[in-house]
Amino acid sequence: MKKWKFTLFTILFLFFANYSTALAHEGEEQESDSDNYLKDFSTNEHDHSDTEEEVTDSHDSHEIEGSSHKSEGSSSHDSHETDATSDHGSQNHSETTNDEGDHDDSSSHNEEGAHGTFTGEEKGPNYIVLSSFASVNAGFLLIGIWNKVRKRGNKHGLNK
């Protein structure tokens, strides 16, 4: 029984460690997207030379009635590490913005009220993370099948 518990603990530990890394990786990806966005914005250049497809949100032109809403990127960055946006990437990386030099977002961001400007790169599924999930789940299901088979065996006296 102790052996089972240890195995289970090890599987869970490896899995959750993997999951945390995956989420952190996601965060980094978001941050780098945000960096690109801010960089582009500050230099007013959009020369992505990447071969990967650049995504431009077709909702960019959405205007919200009532001008009190600011878009996620529309708050002033004002050379602080912290800004008033809900975009975590840009919050985490306004230092990068500083490196790029000061810029007045409030005058340049001409999308007050526009939802979700997205200029990141499209990425395919992360098969490493997905296969980790699949294998852990398959592992649990195999344990379940093994338990069933063992129980059935016990019932029929095969273990005797």
């Binding site: 899995f15 989420l23 996601e26 978001q30 909702h59 009532g66 985490n92 599924p125 992360n126 789940n137």
Partner: protein, 449 residues
């Protein structure tokens, strides 16, 4: 005995078509399979679709549609969502196929609700740190993590152990359903004479209560999924499904628990965090914290803001309990803290609803656009909002006012024979929380999509 012998409330099971449907094999299976199919599509879109959250069908359906709708479901139908939840269905399937059906471990039975509270806080925290809501992949991995937990628990343990002791939504669902308008109870005279106890044990008709509830002693809707198993199993037609006045269950709690009261207070803190981080003053708040901490690290500064938000309602409740005791409220401070913590629930619900109303109304058309895009029909999209910001704000103020009245009335009913003077700290606290919520809703917010 927590049964009903009143005849004044409306019993939905007295309507033949409803009773027939709930007793049939189609309930809740038909809803479960539909939701499971939708869930699979959503997960697929999240992990393999576009990484643009504004265009991802899964992100829109999860965070713009499902999350705002869920508190409304809890108020209207109790934990019916849990009956049709894809995780619950997955658990049922796995247990049927490869489940060992071992008894729930003692650790989970004892500390399950604390784990639920912890997971809920951890998920909210990690959303802010890693941006799960804004990241389709992050949302997808979160759902897959929950799937893994469901698979693991269902392979080993009986009934819906995951839903009962680990689901992060369980605590929220339980607390909100206490204020819900629907309750399932047994008929006192019939249950007293019952020898079969098939509502708990199960029968050929259906398995026993998946949430480990025994109708004869069930005095709360917090753990009832309204899955209908007890209705199918009961040989004596004892079960009643009644419509009640929302928040009524909170007025006379028989066994209030610290973990539920704490969660109610913490949810208030989470609503604050959710609102504050979407405000334009959030930058200023972080800046102030960074001066104190001396670091510009977002995670450090956010963690401090998060801890303050979580503990603030708890400290306020504790302060109110102490003051009330000093002013002549019977019972100890701890007992008063636990009991009146439940009075937060209507305001929690109102804050949660008000916050999500903003998303569903100002981003609502994204559901339509992204659904059309999902089936391959790109349209030139326009404004995403369904109403003006001022309309949303008016609705938010209205909802908070209702929540405030609900919480104050609940506190009043809980106070029973306590004097007005002794109750003043609680009324003051509810008023303060109501004002804070209204103030936060009066400030400009940013969007999810």
């Amino acid at each position: 005995m927590a049964l009903t012998n009143k005849k004044s409330s409306i019993d939905l099971l007295s309507i033949p078509i409803i009773k027939k449907f709930i007793k049939s094999k189609w309930y809740p299976g038909i809803f479960q399979w539909i939701v499971l199919v939708f869930f699979s599509v959503i997960v697929f879109e999240l992990v393999a679709g576009t990484v643009n959250p504004h265009r991802n069908f899964g992100t829109t359906m999860t965070w713009v549609l499902w999350w705002p709708v869920i508190p409304i479901l809890f108020i209207a139908l109790g934990r019916f969502w849990c009956a049709i939840c894809p995780f619950g269905k997955l658990s049922d399937i796995i247990r049927k196929m490869v489940g060992s059906e071992r008894p729930m471990p003692k650790f989970l039975r004892t500390y399950g609700i604390w784990l639920i509270d912890l997971f809920f806080i951890a998920i909210t925290y990690s959303d802010h740190v890693w941006g799960i809501v804004e990241s389709p992949r992050g949302s997808g991995y979160l759902l897959l993590l929950l799937v893994t937990m469901v698979v693991a628990t269902s392979v080993f343990y009986e009934r819906r152990t995951f839903c009962k002791t680990l689901c992060f939504l369980g605590g929220l669902a339980g607390n909100y359903s206490r204020s819900g308008a629907l309750e399932l109870r047994g008929t006192a005279e019939i249950c007293r004479m019952c020898k079969t106890q098939s509502c708990f044990k199960g029968s050929e008709q259906a398995e026993g209560c998946p949430m480990f509830q025994f109708v004869r002693t069930m005095d709360s809707s917090a753990e009832c999924n309204i899955c209908g198993n007890c209705v199918k199993n009961c040989p004596n037609d004892s079960i009643k499904l009644q419509v009640r006045v929302p928040t009524k269950e909170l007025w006379s709690l028989k066994n209030p628990k610290l973990e539920h009261a704490s969660l109610a207070a913490v949810i208030m803190g989470i609503v604050f965090v959710q609102n504050i981080t979407m405000l334009e003053i959030w930058g200023q708040i972080l800046e102030t914290i960074s001066i104190v901490t001396g670091t510009s690290n977002y995670v450090v500064n956010f963690t401090i803001a998060f801890i303050i938000s979580m503990t603030l309602p708890i400290l306020l409740l504790l302060g109110a309990a102490k003051l009330a005791t000093l002013l002549g409220m019977p019972n100890s401070i701890k007992k008063n803290f636990i009991l009146f913590g439940y009075a937060f629930i209507p305001l929690d619900l109102a804050g949660h609803l008000g916050h999500n109303l903003f998303h569903i109304i100002t981003e609502g058309k994204a559901i339509w656009y992204n659904s059309l895009a999902f089936i391959g029909k790109e349209i030139t999209s326009g404004d995403l909002s369904l109403a003006t910001t001022s309309t949303v704000q008016m609705l938010q103020y209205f909802i908070i006012t209702i929540g405030f009245l609900g919480s104050t009335y609940t506190a009043y009913k809980m106070g029973k024979k306590a004097s007005f003077k002794a109750m003043m700290p609680y009324y003051g606290l509810m008023l303060l929380l109501g004002i804070i919520n209204i103030y936060l809703f009066s400030l400009p917010m940013s969007h999810r999509v």
